[in-house]
């Protein structure tokens, strides 16, 4: 068909728009992927190890074995995402070649480039990238990211950093919205963001792409907290399959994300979920173990 175009900015950003109000769950096996889909996940992140295990395992964390990702793609009908290392454009090319639906250029893996991220405009597959503040979000969008997630601190089960990063980004957008136009260039310089995107964000009153929260969400209440703060949806990594009853917890987090403004429903789904993931408080961690600082 002559008039069809693929890989456009609209279809890349559009898939993220269809994920909104949903929960994207980390899975390491086809069985986990099916549990996530049955629980109502709107997408899964296919991994060899969840972030909590990456922390325990140590060493260099790389893109997962394509075989594992492909088996997960075969197991479910919902979109499948997979992670490449920051700046590792060949891992991204591999993920595009096997046909994943979204690539997460992720700080959870060990960065491959100390200065540069992947040029995401070159790919037909859309990318999601992490951020801690507005400048970082707009730099990633400038490089072609079609979706943003605030980083939080992955693999901890501690929501404190997810809250901090979401409040930072959303607070900076609120400040920007009230800024007179003549101050935008200096502000763009201050936060290290492309001027045109600063201007667009001010006009929209929000990021030009969908913005999820990630990194430390472990309970239905955590998910609803992030939604009430104003994000479009949530990633839950280690929080589900490191808990006592993953299927039940997964469904409860999905329901709390949909009904995030309804405390009666959140209370009901929070009952009898079994053990949450054990978790580690971020304030007790040495600085060299923090993942969120990766990304430039």
């Amino acid at each position: 068909m002559s008039n069809e175009q693929v890989g456009t900015i609209t279809v890349k950003r559009g898939l993220a728009q269809m994920l909104k109000g949903g929960v994207i769950m980390d899975v390491v096996t086809p069985e986990q992927a099916r549990i996530a889909e049955d629980a109502g996940a709107c997408a899964v992140m296919a991994l060899e190890r969840v972030p909590a295990d990456i922390r325990v395992h140590g060493g260099v964390a790389r893109m997962s074995d394509p075989e594992i990702i492909m088996k997960i793609m075969d197991a479910v009908s919902i979109p499948v995402m997979a992670k490449c290392r920051i700046g590792h454009f060949v891992e991204a090319q591999i993920l595009e070649a096997i046909g994943v639906d979204y690539i997460d250029e992720s700080e959870v893996l060990t960065p491959a480039d100390r200065l540069h991220h992947v040029n995401k405009h070159l790919f037909k597959i859309p990318f999601v990238c992490g951020c801690r503040n507005l400048g970082e979000a707009l730099r990633r969008i400038g490089e072609g990211a079609a979706m943003i997630r605030t980083k939080g601190e992955a693999g901890t089960g501690d929501v404190v950093e997810a809250v901090f990063h979401a409040r930072t980004v959303l607070g900076e957008i609120r400040r920007l919205s009230n800024m007179p136009e003549e101050e935008l260039m200096a502000y763009a310089k201050e936060i290290g963001a492309p001027y045109e995107l600063v201007k667009e964000t001010r006009e929209l009153g929000k990021l030009p792409v969908v913005n999820f929260a990630a990194g430390g969400i472990a309970t239905p209440a955590d998910a609803a907290l992030m939604m009430q703060l104003g994000v479009d949806g949530v990633f839950v990594g280690s929080g589900i399959f490191k808990s006592g009853d993953p299927a039940r917890r997964a469904q409860a987090i999905v329901e709390a994300t949909t009904h995030y403004r309804d405390p009666d429903i959140i209370a009901r789904v929070s009952r009898n979920l079994g053990e949450p993931m054990v978790g580690r408080s971020v304030s007790s961690m040495p600085e060299n173990e923090l993942l969120a600082v990766r990304g430039w």
Binding site: V6, M18, G22, G40, V254
Partner: protein, 196 residues
């Protein structure tokens, strides 16, 4: 009454905010639907794009299936992409569906995200919204479903150039496998609001 003559937008998951935004810009009163009580008094319902398995699961858990079927007897309902899958009678995968439209639909029929596309559609039936002219509708397809077969009494509204059916109408019920809410073109929204 909660709905009170408004157009409801099913807000369980997916691209519902875009429809609320569009309807509001058109001056049409609208509200989000998450629970059965939200459906009372609605004048019509939009089921947005998203993940059909997620939307179906939540609709079953929160008792929305029968109230939506009841509403669809007398009021217009429009399903977009996942919403179209959810409205179909037959889907190849096993998942909850409303069974409102007598069609067979294939999920992700054009492939995964790398095959998501934009295309221009001929839409002569929309010429009333353009002073009698009919310019193509620029349609956005995202991991889109395709309508594989339609039974008697269903009007095919739009096809791709290869013949694939991507929009259909059965009385006051309508489905599109693409996303008019992601474009600046409100002709499909106006057509829906005129369905009787």
């Amino acid at each position: 009454m909660p709905g009170d003559g408004k157009i409801g937008v099913l807000a369980l998951q997916g691209g519902f905010a875009e429809h609320i935004h569009r309807l509001t810009a058109m001056g049409v009163p609208c509200s989000e639907v998450r629970l059965p009580g939200d459906i009372i008094g609605l004048n019509g319902l939009i089921i947005p794009g998203g993940e059909s398995t997620t939307i179906g699961k939540l609709a079953v858990t929160y008792g929305l299936m029968e109230p939506i079927r009841q509403l669809a007897r007398t009021r217009p309902v429009w399903g977009i992409c996942a919403g179209a899958v959810f409205m179909a009678k037959q889907v190849q995968t096993s998942q909850p569906v409303l069974g409102l439209m007598d069609i067979t639909i294939q999920r992700n029929a054009f492939g995964r995200q790398a095959s998501s596309f934009e295309a221009d559609l001929d839409v002569p039936f929309l010429r009333q919204y353009q002073n009698g002219q009919s310019s193509p509708f620029h349609a956005i397809f995202i991991r889109a479903p395709r309508i594989e077969s339609v039974r008697a009494g269903i009007d095919v509204l739009a096809r791709l150039t290869d013949g694939s059916i991507v929009a259909a109408r059965q009385g006051h019920l309508m489905i599109t496998s693409f996303h008019p809410e992601l474009t600046g073109d409100d002709r499909f929204h106006r057509y829906f609001l005129d369905l009787k």
